[in-house]
Structure formats: C-alpha cells, structure tokens
C-alpha cells in the first residue's frame, strides 16, 4: 500500500516530510484548494509498508502518527 494524503485535511505543515525515516515524502508543487502546498509521495517504494496489503498491520506509521490533521491514510497501490 501507499500513503494517501487527504487534500481537504492537509494544511501543508510538512511534518510528514521531516519525520519519515525513509524520505518517502518531499515538498510538492501542487497547492490544495485550501492553499496548502501539498507534500508529494515521491518515493513510495522506500516505505516499509509498500509490500503490505491494505488492512495489514503497518510496519512504520511515523507519518500517520505525527500528522496533526489526520490527513494520511494507507490505501491500495
């Protein structure tokens, strides 16, 4: 699975970019409807959860735990 960012919740704080130990995220160029500079999931294959199936227990969830807006979800992909 891949991390998915909810564009209605994300406020562009970029803490996910900072805390991810595998550098999966980077600052993107798209701006959400709310005016947030969205992070981009640029290296999903580096994520320890990449090979897992949806609903399997996550190996690493630093981004999910840290995101102040509960905007990150792991989905099929």
């Amino acid at each position: 699975m891949k991390p998915h960012i909810n564009e209605d919740y994300c406020k562009g704080c970029h803490l996910c970019i900072l805390v991810c130990p595998m550098k999966v995220y980077e600052k993107g160029s798209r701006i959400s409807k709310k005016g947030a500079i969205l992070p981009e999931v640029s290296k999903p294959e580096k994520c320890p959860n990449y090979k897992k199936k949806v609903d399997e227990k996550l190996t690493c969830e630093m981004c999910v735990l840290t995101c102040p807006d509960q905007a990150i979800n792991f989905l099929e992909g």
């Binding site: 209605d8 704080c13 630093m62 735990l65 840290t66 102040p68 807006d69 509960q70």
Partner: protein, 267 residues
C-alpha cells in the same frame, strides 16, 4: 478496537488548528492509547480555555469546556459526582499551570482520581503568543518582546513532588513513548499527569525565528533528552535553568487515591 470515526467527532474535520500545531499529534497519541480500552459512554473530557483544551471537543464523548484554568476543579466535581466516570482533563501550559496552578497542585496532593493531559507548547497560543510560565528563559513572546527574563516551570517535577500517582513528560517527537505513558496512566488510580511537549509555530515559532513547523519540531526535539532510570533531572528544582527538557517518568506510585480513602471512611 475503536475506529477514528468512533473515537473522534469526524464531522468537525478539518480541525481548526494552525498548520503544524502539535495538538493534532497529541490527539493521535490519545486515540492510540485509548482505542482498545476506553468505554466511550463513560469517558468525560474536561477542557479549560486554550487551543489544547479544545481537544475536548474533538473526542466523541461527553465533554465539558469550562472556564480558564478551572478544568481540574470541574473534573473533581464530575468524578466525585459519579465515580464510575472516566475523567480526562486536557489543557495547555497556561490553562493548567498558570491560572490553574492552585487546582493542579491541590488535586495532585489529594491524589484525585483524574488523568490530566497537559500539552505544553511554551506559550499562550490562542490569544496570539503571550508568555506563559512554561516559556523558556530568553524566549520572545508578545508580552516579553525583549526576551523572557523569567525561568520556566517544570510542571512534571512539581506534580511529582506533590504526590501524584503518575507524572511523566514526553513530546510530540516521541509519539510511541507518549502513547505508552497515556496508556499506563489510564490504568492507574489517583492523580495521573502526562505532559506532552508540543509546538506552536504561530505563537512561539514565528516570534523566535522558528516559524516553519518542521524547524520548531526539530528545535524542540534537540532540547529534549531521555531521563535515565533513577536519574535526577536538570536543576533538581521545579524550575528549568538549563533550557533542556528531561523526558520520562518522574513519578509512578501507588499511593492511596482519593476515592480509595473515601471508601475507607464509609466503612
């Protein structure tokens, strides 16, 4: 295990916090700590006034948003009114430690059966960034424009010394330990205090050249260290003199709780 929808009032999302506010991270940790064990029909969230206190309105349980600083006193009444209730107080450094200070130390002394989650972001965030008793020495705020001449409170040490059954401090950069501390506290009786060092990029960050959430987050993490077992922290008094924050358990006791001693009297 409760889902996010069962634990939070998801109809209120996106939450009203600033980008990068640590409150959201604390909420995640609160959820993880409670989702397997809490009875949502018995849970009562009690918050004072301030951004952190507003966490009380994001949890899908009975909640009461009280007057500034008095959440702990309200919580005392709620718990004594119905001891079956699971009472959790949530608030910031100003609400709990400044205006609420008297209630904090007396509730700890009484070992009142409530859990207090103090989100310490070093500032009065909601009102725009004024100094708090937790603002680090030399920190800039709107009411200390030349830098804070005072030294900050080590609330966790104070509460530990007041006889609380549990007093621990972690930070939003240590989510796993924070989750465990809340879990441990939730299982105990008596007065339990968990402090989460957090960030306010808008109120503290911007005034101190740490406006980017990631910047302030890294700065906070760099100022923390994990307390060794049986180690003494920093200055040895409940005042922070060296600008470093020890993290860990400052008290973990099983002193007779208020309700336990009340029960004894009934016999």
């Amino acid at each position: 295990m409760l889902s996010m929808q069962e634990f939070f009032r998801m109809d209120r999302w996106p939450n009203s916090y600033c980008p990068g506010c640590g409150n959201g991270t604390v909420m995640n940790c609160l959820y993880r700590a409670l989702r397997d064990v809490v009875d949502m029909d018995k849970l009562v969230m009690v918050g004072g006034i301030g951004c952190s206190a507003r966490i009380d309105g994001y949890v899908f349980a009975d909640a009461i948003h009280t007057t500034h600083g008095r959440a702990i006193a309200f919580a005392t009444g709620i718990k004594l009114g119905n001891p079956e209730l699971d009472v959790i107080v949530v608030g910031g450094d100003g609400d709990i430690g400044a205006i609420g200070g008297n209630h904090l130390i007396n509730a700890a002394r009484r070992n009142m059966d409530i859990l207090v989650l103090c989100v310490n972001n070093w500032i009065y965030g909601m009102t725009g960034g004024q100094v708090s008793p937790a603002t680090p020495h030399t920190g800039i705020s709107t009411t200390t424009p030349e830098g804070n001449q005072e030294y900050s409170f080590e609330f966790v040490k104070l509460v530990a010394e007041c006889g609380a059954n549990y007093a621990a401090r972690w930070s939003i950069a240590h989510p796993f330990q924070l989750i465990d501390a809340i879990k441990t506290a939730h299982q105990k009786k008596g007065f339990r205090y968990v402090e989460a060092l957090s960030i306010c990029p808008t109120g503290y960050g911007r005034n101190n050249k740490l406006a980017e959430p990631a910047q302030l987050f890294e700065y906070l993490k760099s100022k923390t260290y994990i307390l060794k077992q049986n180690g003494t922290h920093g200055s040895g008094i409940a005042v922070n003199l060296d600008g470093k924050f020890a993290l860990g358990e400052f008290a973990n006791r099983d002193r007779e709780s208020y309700l336990e001693s009340l029960k004894k009297q009934e016999v």
